[in-house]
Symmetry: C2
């Protein structure tokens, strides 16, 4: 165990130029924080490494404030309450909160995303398939996408943590599921582990639109889109009438000014499409219910999920670099401390 | 009266190059059609001149089949049933149907849009504010836009037939209404006749985005968009969180391949926007109910509408040219025959 009075942290050393890299971060430490009335002291167990971090680090304002140079890197984390000055939280509670890349955090309840109940599913799942990741997949497919039995559902980054859950949730709704991914290894994973009905390695096809038309002769009813850009351009012509595009990410596009491309609005009109953006954090109130449902799916063997757990807070920047390079397999999580002390 | 055995028509002489012009059409005639079992013979009273005709005439496939060179120009029309071989329709019934630009048409009930009841509102309104035009405005503002009291609603082509109705319907919902239009005369019309809270002459502003931001400091909650293109690009940054864009037209864009512009999907994500295309003809089942509601609004003086009625079928191509040049004022209708015989 490290010294409990020292709070090891990873801070942003400089504004990333393009993709964030290792050298954009440095290790720092500060005294273990004290808490004020209404706050909780959390001991970080795991932190989550997410594609959204790219946006949080970009100069341009996205949904949340940009992480300042010199500040602790923002992240979701799973922590244990070790001290509480708020009546709703007790020592020993497990919470997913905005902990940042650090060992200890003083958290206001507004920064708490959800409580975690211990079950026979690993605790780390609360940062993935039983947390924001699963919530994103479920809301995208069921609430925004309104996928119905017999429909065709397309999922981008299909081997990723959101995509793989989305495919299996769509399948559970009775839909035919098509994945898109960027390597043969991930394509096999989609077919063999995540049960997609078909999967395209987009690096292997000459014309993505034509490849999708061949696979989806009646068109795509729902597209869960985490990438945007040229992929979205290529998918749009294959959408069926009254199709829904649920946008949960734009990872292929720069974070700054809108990227140039063909305007989608004429296709949206002619085919009566709905293109809707959503953030899972707007749906946190539904997480307990959805998490229960997904837990049952896991226990029934209907929802496979992969995790890639990296050891040690100091390795978080590297885990992020790997994630953004598409080199991870499954939900990327960094172990910061032991599950129990 | 013209010879009832001759069916005067206007046919497409050649495929328009760019905007349709007078010389793309010619006058023709044929014998008055006979009807088969299940069909109705309609005497055309009015035909409607619509922006959508631009798309119907374009080479590229839109929602409906392209009008063939040599064929009667497609249009909606109000007609009186003069012979019926269908049990649901009686001689004397007034119907809005796909009549085409001709004096007589043999119509299958599938081509009937709605029945018209005589009221104290002029019959021609059934092709405008009490027909597809009003239905488009209502569905756009209420169903797709979900405009609520206290919200800010922006309407393109605000002095036009759909736009002016949309503004007044939004106002009746308790929303603040902002119009965009292309001349000072139309701007005055929006403010003085159609009761918009504010109106922008987009030709007079240097930076439409900035002008909208000034008018809408809390952002735009609903945008009813009939123009697309650079106007939509300029409006997007002013949309409020959870804003809705109801797309009923793309008149500023070419009918063929998608026009290039900034991709909207990142803004759609970050602001959780919904961009949805709709066609009023998908909502015809609700027209009787909505038409009754709009009739009451007209009778209560809460829904002003302008019509520009051109005399004579031969003048239809010119009316279309005027409409597409933005030179008409109010719903453009051509009188083909008398209201009663």
């Amino acid at each position: 165990m490290s010294d409990p009075d020292i709070n090891h942290q990873v801070v942003l050393a400089r504004r990333p130029q393009g993709e964030p890299v290792l050298s954009d971060f440095w290790a720092a430490h500060s005294p273990r924080p004290t808490i004020r009335d209404g706050e909780l002291l959390l001991r970080t167990i795991y932190v989550s490494i997410d594609p959204a971090m790219r946006g949080w680090l970009a100069e341009t304002q996205g949904y949340v404030e940009t992480v300042a140079v010199g500040a602790v890197m923002r992240s979701f984390g799973l922590g244990e309450v070790v001290a509480s000055r708020h009546p709703d939280y007790q020592v020993g509670d497990l919470l997913v909160a905005v902990t940042g890349w650090q060992e200890w955090s003083a958290v206001d309840p507004a920064g708490v995303l959800h409580r975690v109940a211990r079950s026979d599913v690993a605790l780390s799942a609360s940062l993935g398939v039983l947390g924001i990741t699963g919530l994103t997949a479920y809301v995208g497919i069921v609430d925004i996408g309104r996928a119905r039995a017999g429909e065709t559902v397309l999922v981008s980054s299909a081997a990723g943590s959101v995509g793989s859950a989305a495919g299996q949730i769509a399948r559970a709704q009775g839909a035919r599921t098509i994945g898109m991914t960027g390597s043969e290894e991930k394509r096999r994973l989609c077919l063999d582990t995540f049960g997609f009905d078909a999967c395209i390695n987009y690096r292997e096809v000459d014309d993505l639109t034509e490849a999708l038309k061949e696979l989806c002769p009646d068109g795509i009813d729902v597209y869960l889109d985490s990438v945007g850009g040229a992929t979205l351009d290529a998918v749009l012509p294959v959408l069926a009438q009254n199709g829904r595009i649920a946008i949960c990410g734009t990872i292929s596009e720069p974070s700054g000014a809108a990227s140039p491309g063909p305007r989608p609005n004429r296709q949206i009109l002619v085919k009566r499409l709905t293109m809707q953006g959503f953030l899972a954090t707007d749906y946190l109130a539904r997480l307990p219910e959805i998490s229960d449902l997904l837990t049952t799916m896991i226990q029934d063997g209907k929802l496979m999920h992969l995790e890639e757990i990296t050891e040690g807070l100091h390795a978080a920047p590297q885990a992020l670099e790997q994630l953004l390079a598409g080199k991870n397999q499954g939900k990327s999580i960094v172990r910061v401390g032991p599950e129990t002390t």
